[in-house]
Symmetry: C2
Subunit: 306 residues, 2 copies
């Protein structure tokens, strides 16, 4: 099967976290160059790839890790995108203004320009994942094209979401309705050593499954880049997090095209045939039959009976 | 683990279709008795179990198969539910009035009463599945408690949906928001012999996956009863449908608790621990973080950019 304009080779990079930004970006650059030399034109990085996952604790000093949109990460990725002529999806701890910080995905186009950004909409907050302490939730505005809005790039419209968003079918659907051609999830998720092996396996399976289901429901390929490796809890209150890797690429029927291990730094790649989406939507016309007259209660927190 | 009020043994019955209602209901009764004698207190039947899957063709004579809510199927299942003290979820071709027919799930409580009904909301229409010809879509009305509204029974609130609904995360979510404790899908889906084996496998995998994902997204157990066996196309225009069975029960993390074959009449059963839902929702608080301020476009058919 020879490549056509509808075929895009995509790569997902999962790696172990490094404590400082310079070494992190060096590592990332090496991996991006490797992915690009393998032919990939779209490269997805993991969540907050330029640091350790600092949200394990609530520590004021960590705000010093935040950078402006036009900061060192964007500068570095932008130069690489231009040089290697590929689209790179990175993830930064964004300082928007003093007191307003976001968990933001940035998309660099093949000419090095910032094609768009996505500020994480659903923010988790659990032991070990103190994200509500660090990040304001992103805003959604259809007119201003922020929030659940795909980012236009030279290789297609990217439905970029971040980590916790992956559990919400609503987010993937909104991206699909707005024309996304690929779903992408930079992620940082792992195991708590206090859970049993069986529970850990159920969590990993559920995580893979829910994201593959966004492919199925929307007939879109999905790219997921997750951290890998153990990061200790700086407070020593817990046993830290073992990020479970298992990054993957699924096709528009949820079929696995590439899948990472749960321990190693890896580059996964697969060729996406974007023309499959429309074929599948004609054969399985879910979008034709959505009951839009009956969905308004999706905007409720809970539906009271009577 | 001894049963507690939160544990419910549930069964799913998949069987080959029979052409006439009397033999179909006899077969169903035998299978229900078997499931109940095995200890199941909740029994799910497949879609339109009292006939062959007549929607393969558009045939006016088939409207003669429709029955009133208070028809022979309800009468038979009601008597069985009362005698066996279990909740039975059946499926009928409902004649609501001359010219208005529905694909309706009926829920019989342990006292034989009709606990509620669900009229299929999403209606498919594809070669071999001419459902828009036969069925009006169900209405949704939160106040009147019809549509995406769980049905109260003596063993819990049942989020009953039907077949094509299974592809819509919106439907499962609305049921969960309204308090459903279990999701149930009577189904009739199968393979077209013209598809390759690989494509058939992708379809089956996608179907299992999307329904398990409703368990994951909502932390609810899911029961799916699908037809099994080949039913010829009465018009001989196609090779008919090979219903793929593979009925299953998943737990509230999407884990498979029981799974049927793709060829045999079978009863599957599993014990559901309904207390797991709240535990999981505290550990993985998706419902806490839904961005209800940003979901209104889910009620649009398509979201125009700019």
């Amino acid at each position: 099967m020879s490549p056509t304009p509808n075929n895009i080779q995509a790569a997902v990079i999962q790696h172990k976290g490094l404590p400082d930004q310079a070494s992190s970006l060096n590592q990332t650059e090496t991996l991006i160059r490797q992915a690009a030399s393998g032919g990939s034109k779209l490269i997805l990085l993991q969540e907050l790839h330029a640091s350790l996952y600092f949200c394990q604790t609530q520590t004021y000093d960590n705000f010093a890790l935040a950078e402006a949109l036009e900061g060192p990460t964007k500068t570095r990725l932008s130069a690489l995108a231009k040089e290697l002529e590929c689209v790179i999806v990175g993830s930064i701890f964004e300082k928007r203004m003093a007191g307003v910080y976001h968990n933001t995905a940035i998309v660099l186009d093949t000419d090095g320009s910032l094609a768009g950004i996505y500020r994480k909409m659903h923010i988790p907050d659990d032991p070990g994942f103190n994200e509500k302490f660090y990040f304001s939730p992103g805003e959604h505005d259809q007119i201003q094209q922020i929030g659940f809005t795909p980012i236009n790039t030279s290789i297609g419209k990217l439905g970029v979401l971040v980590c916790w968003d992956q559990w919400y079918p609503e987010a993937a659907r909104l991206m699909a309705l707005a024309g996304a051609e690929i779903l992408l999830y930079p992620t940082a998720i792992g195991w708590d050593a206090e859970d049993t092996k069986e529970e850990q396996q159920r969590q990993l399976d559920a995580w893979t499954l829910i994201q593959r289901s966004h492919s199925v429901a929307n007939h879109l390929p999905t790219l997921v880049a997750n951290r890998v490796g153990h990061e200790p809890d700086p407070s020593s209150n817990t046993q830290g997090i073992t990020f479970w890797g298992n990054s993957f690429i699924s096709g528009p029927q949820g079929e696995i095209l590439a899948e990472g291990s749960n321990t190693e730094t890896q580059i996964l790649s697969a060729t996406l045939d974007l023309s499959r989406t429309e074929q599948l939507r004609q054969i399985w016309p879910y979008f034709r039959d959505r009951r839009i007259d009956a969905y308004s209660a999706l905007s409720q927190r809970s539906i009271k009976s009577q």
